[in-house]
Symmetry: C2
Subunit: 281 residues, 2 copies
């Protein structure tokens, strides 16, 4: 078993490869473990996926204690590094947010996503306030001896005023401040077109995360644009729920079970996902 | 909101229709809610699906407290009746098993599955011991005023000695005893071929549950054979994990995201699954 600092270092290295790190976001133990078995070198959680799976809408309606327990369950069954989406940090100020991140490290994760959208009012936090939180998290990591990977998300492209060009400038301004406060990677939510990605990456000179969605440039193209990390966001939850919806319609409308039994894994394969992967021989 | 007794009565009625009740087994809130939205009139849990999703192998390794919390989360977000697979009842004797079922009712479910395979030794419980548990559950329901639906599973087809015909006789003998002890429905695990299903149904004269699997007769044929309930077992978990495995292979081998973004639901649709369905207008 590697230590948390070793896992954090490994996760950081993955952000500096010649091709983008593809980071699948899971929401429970088997979704995380099946991605690990598929060969992904690190796993992240999706806040929407994880919270909805436990009966809470995305945001911070979920009690922090339940959230941390869920992160602990997943981290405890993974061998590869885990990054946790902590939304806005489950706290108001830098001290409270850093305390949340400390609990996330206790749970076994070595990376976090922190966003600058205030879930209470759907507006952006002031840059200075967000910077204080990021600095507090960086200091927390240093004091704990865990060089955790901070992915700083900005929602400026969706929630700041003006036209696209103006919003892009604001996203760059915010991401730059977050990088300078100690973020390892920045994540402009809603950045999807090649031209904007190129502009953003050129302005930042640090790893940039984009999220998979329909219409995003191909992985090869993203690599050429200088993107260093491509995450799923809640896409895998959307996809599996889409499958279950098709399963339901097929059975209720046609009495057929094909999409339920085709391409499925077995009982033993499912059961094996509940426990850590056996060490390679 | 209907009361537990009303939900239990409704669930019981669904076992006596002219076509089989198709009962999808879910494992968390959104898998249950998406099946409800698809139009299924009742939902069940899969023990393997639910337990693995929380990091425990199928069986009774999961702490009872966590198991009951998971049932409560799902029941609390459903409008239709929920049946819980309680494996062997999380207890040794009739009193302990009935206490578990009482907690399952407290959590909001109105049906249970109880199996006669001892998870501790992978052998069948004596019939008389299983009968005592079923009677205790029936009495618990009566004392609580909740006519819960008991689905008594027997694993005789897989775990009793002899050839298929001998095992089928043992499964019928056990299912008959369970029915007479108060089970509403019997569930011979591993019953899949039309001839055996026909024999079994004719011998029982009470609702019989079969589980979906590749090679099972069609739903229409199962209806002609007299089957009253067709459950998914862990099939939906197998199917979704199969999808995630394909997603992973497609991305890691081909750099493509098609199976991740095609046929998916949206963020708002996912988020809506965390809360009870709005009442019909």
């Amino acid at each position: 078993m590697r230590t948390l600092p070793e896992k954090a270092e490994e996760f950081r290295r993955l952000h500096h490869g010649t091709t983008p790190l593809v980071l699948p976001n899971a929401w429970d133990v088997p979704s995380a473990r099946i991605f690990e078995d598929a060969g992904f070198p690190a796993i992240a959680t999706s806040s929407a996926g994880l919270m909805v799976s436990l009966g809470y809408p995305d945001g911070q309606a979920m009690p922090k204690r339940e959230f941390l327990a869920a992160i602990g369950r997943i981290a405890g069954r993974l061998s590869v590094p885990l990054s946790a989406d902590v939304v806005a940090g489950f706290g108001r100020g830098p001290r409270e947010v850093a305390r949340t991140v400390g609990r996330v490290l206790d749970a076994g994760a070595i990376g976090i996503n922190l966003e600058d959208l205030d879930p209470a009012r759907e507006g952006l936090f002031p840059v200075a306030a967000q910077v204080r939180k990021l600095r507090a998290i960086r200091e927390l990591g240093a004091s704990r001896g865990v060089p955790l990977v901070i992915n700083a998300r900005t929602d400026a492209l969706r929630h700041s005023p003006g036209e696209h060009a103006e919003r892009l400038r604001e996203a760059i301004r915010r991401a730059t401040a977050y990088r300078d406060a100690g973020a390892d990677c920045v994540y402009p939510m809603g950045l999807t077109d090649a031209a904007s990605i190129e502009t953003f990456v050129a302005a930042l000179s640090c790893p940039v995360n984009v999220m998979v969605r329909k219409g995003l440039p191909s992985l090869a193209e993203l690599g050429r644009l200088g993107v260093k990390r491509v995450s799923f966001g809640p896409a895998a939850s959307y996809a599996t729920m889409g499958l279950l919806r098709r399963v339901g319609a097929e059975i209720l409308e046609h009495g057929a079970f094909d999409s339920l039994v085709e391409g499925a894994i077995t009982f033993d394969e499912l059961n094996a996902l509940a426990v850590p992967r056996p060490p390679a021989a």
